[in-house]
Amino acid sequence: MGSASAAATYQPQRAIDEFLLRTEGLTKRYGQRTVVDGLNLEVRRGDVFGLLGPNGSGKTTTLRMLLSLVRPTSGRIEVFGRSATHPAQLREAASRIGALVEQPAFYPYLGGEENLTGVALLSGMPRGRATRERIREALAQVGLAARGRDAYRTYSLGMKQRLGIAAALLTDPELLVLDEPTNGLDPAGMVDVRALVERLARAGKTIVLASHLLHEVQHLCTRVAILKDGRLLAQGPVSDLATGVEAIEISFARPEELPRALAAVQTARASGLSWLGAASFAVPEAGGHAPPGGWCLLVNAPADRAPEIARLLAARDLFPTAMRPREAGLERIFLALTGESTAEAGTTPPEPSQPSRPFMITTRAMKGDVS
């Protein structure tokens, strides 16, 4: 979360409420299969907007519709304040949008510089020294200046990805659409690309970033939209989304107290305590107190309710050794919203006699609890 709030400082003060991109009821069907279902997205000027979702959630199809590669079945797209639902309408805005969708697409027998010359031409940039200089500048921006004349087919996967980013940056676009930009990059390359995205965001670019790498999105994005099965589950600043998934880690001196504590919380919840969310066994976060047996109780509840939970447990002769709020990282938000399984949480009681094997339990305990 810390990094997400740091990322929030990128937001320029000017025109913060201006929508650069908006969709209303955006839907794509292939036959009977609905790939994107009534999507309402709002990207403001200066946003670094993360599009998150498991594989097959409709991220790429959404981006393709935004870039007029795929025609929506229904719904509306607005770019720079003007309707862009039909490809012909988006054409006018195309030079203001830079995009890298899935794999970079270039001619293998041409050099990087020549490939970018083609992109410049397609973008309507005139031939001449100014364009050539801009191409070199874009290559330098992604660290390919020295390899600009080499044939694209000789590039490594990471270099190809960088050339794709250079192509997206070529017209110095206001809106940058990046689909898995760190795909295929080595760790150093990933850091480079993230740093580049940060710098572009600081310079006032609006960026739409689709990724399944949660830490990447959490680190870079100011706002996120979470998709599953083509539907929008949540949208907003990471900090706002986190409010629904606050949790408290509770540790006990003896592992056998955990099932009793879980039962106590579940009973209290069933009796109508609306602020009390689901409870499960979990492995404490790194750096946290490691209880005997390796497990703790994780209760979805606001941190300021900790004393009430302590009283509730004390009424059953259960006295925690430690209670601490667990940071609601994007990963937890994502897992809570999408119902994806996690290997760290469960409601199956831990086996006290086998405290060293806590990662064996996998459930969908958090599904639907916080949406």
Partner: protein
């Protein structure tokens, strides 16, 4: 790490400051780029393809070999063979029949090679994913197709003109060296229109087959579909048409001459018509094994040809305009 950060850190802000200028540089034109510059880019791509160099080498090498064989046969023919084979061969090595000899060769070999080139060129736009770049950059789907069609037309024209120029050179140099007598071209009159018309007919034939390749590559979204489609049509018509024509000749009134117009093979007739209908005699005396069919009227042949071209471009446009870019 530093590849990115070192080079770009100081650049980001100034780049942003200059953004408005750049956006002006990227023209706000509705089409993103003009048709001519797009077609020019397509031609650059064709020219830079390694396959283009190989195919051009095959085309020129094949022609050189053919001329070499003709010279060898002419020089070595004696007695009756000198009259039966040597005479027609010398005519084909001498201007202006040398032009139609080069045209016939282009009509056969050029069509095959350009079909391969066009099929791979168009199909690879899908394989490489480069088609989506054009669409994302604001180039309309129809506009991109128009640029490809224009590039193929220019390529066909350049190949036809180049090959006929080679035929002219052979006819004005090699033919006289072997004892041939080039026919003088009348300084005024239709002769000067007949030569471009002939070159145009050859170019149109090449163009038509490149359009067949374009259609199949667009349909199958791959290079193999484009190449196989065009060559498939060529093989089928070369094998099936003679049979078809023969059956029609036997069974239909008027010798079934009109039946021949149902396949693109009619373009060969257009080439033939352009060679025969004019003041210059571009066709030499027939070789012994040659069967000469009556050529249709040039206008009729060209009209059929243009109809085919329009239909192929139209079908390709329908495919391009209606389908999503998912590759």
């Amino acid at each position: 790490m530093s590849a990115l950060s070192a080079s770009s850190a100081p650049r980001t802000s100034p780049a942003s400051a200059r953004a408005p200028e750049r956006r002006v540089a990227a023209r706000d034109g509705r089409r993103g780029a003009s048709l001519l510059s797009l077609a020019g880019w397509q031609l650059t791509l064709i020219r830079r393809r390694p396959a283009a160099k190989v195919l051009l080498g095959l085309l020129l090498g094949g022609y050189a070999a053919l001329v070499g064989v003709a010279v060898f046969l002419y020089v070595t023919s004696t007695g009756d063979a000198a009259d039966d084979i040597g005479g027609p061969l010398l005519a084909r090595l001498t201007f202006p029949v040398s032009i139609s000899a080069a045209g016939d060769y282009t009509d056969f070999m050029g069509v095959i090679l350009l079909s391969i080139l066009a099929g791979t060129f168009i199909g690879n736009e899908y394989t490489y994913g480069t088609r989506r770049v054009a669409v994302m950059r604001g180039v309309g789907r129809g506009w991109a197709l128009a640029a490809q069609v224009l590039a193929l037309a220019i390529a066909a024209l350049v190949i036809a003109a180049g090959m006929l120029l080679l035929g002219t050179l052979v006819g004005l140099t090699l033919g006289p060296l072997l004892g041939g007598h080039p026919a003088p071209v009348p300084p005024l009159g239709w002769a000067w229109a007949q030569l471009p018309a002939y070159a145009g007919a050859v170019a149109l034939r090449l163009f038509l087959y490149s359009l067949i390749a374009l259609f199949f590559a667009t349909l199958g979204r791959s290079a193999s579909a484009g190449t196989a489609g065009a060559l498939g049509v060529l093989i089928v018509e070369r094998v099936a048409l003679p049979v078809f024509t023969f059956v029609a000749f036997l069974t239909l009134p008027g010798g079934g001459n009109g039946v021949r117009f149902i396949t693109p093979q009619v373009n060969a007739d257009a080439v033939e018509a352009a060679a025969r209908h004019g003041p210059l005699v571009l066709t030499g005396p027939p070789l012994q094994f040659e069967i000469v069919l009556a050529a249709p009227a040039l206008v009729q042949a060209l009209a059929t040809l243009l109809l085919y071209c329009a239909a192929l471009v139209g079908l390709s446009w329908l495919l391009v305009a209606r389908r999503d870019v998912i590759e």
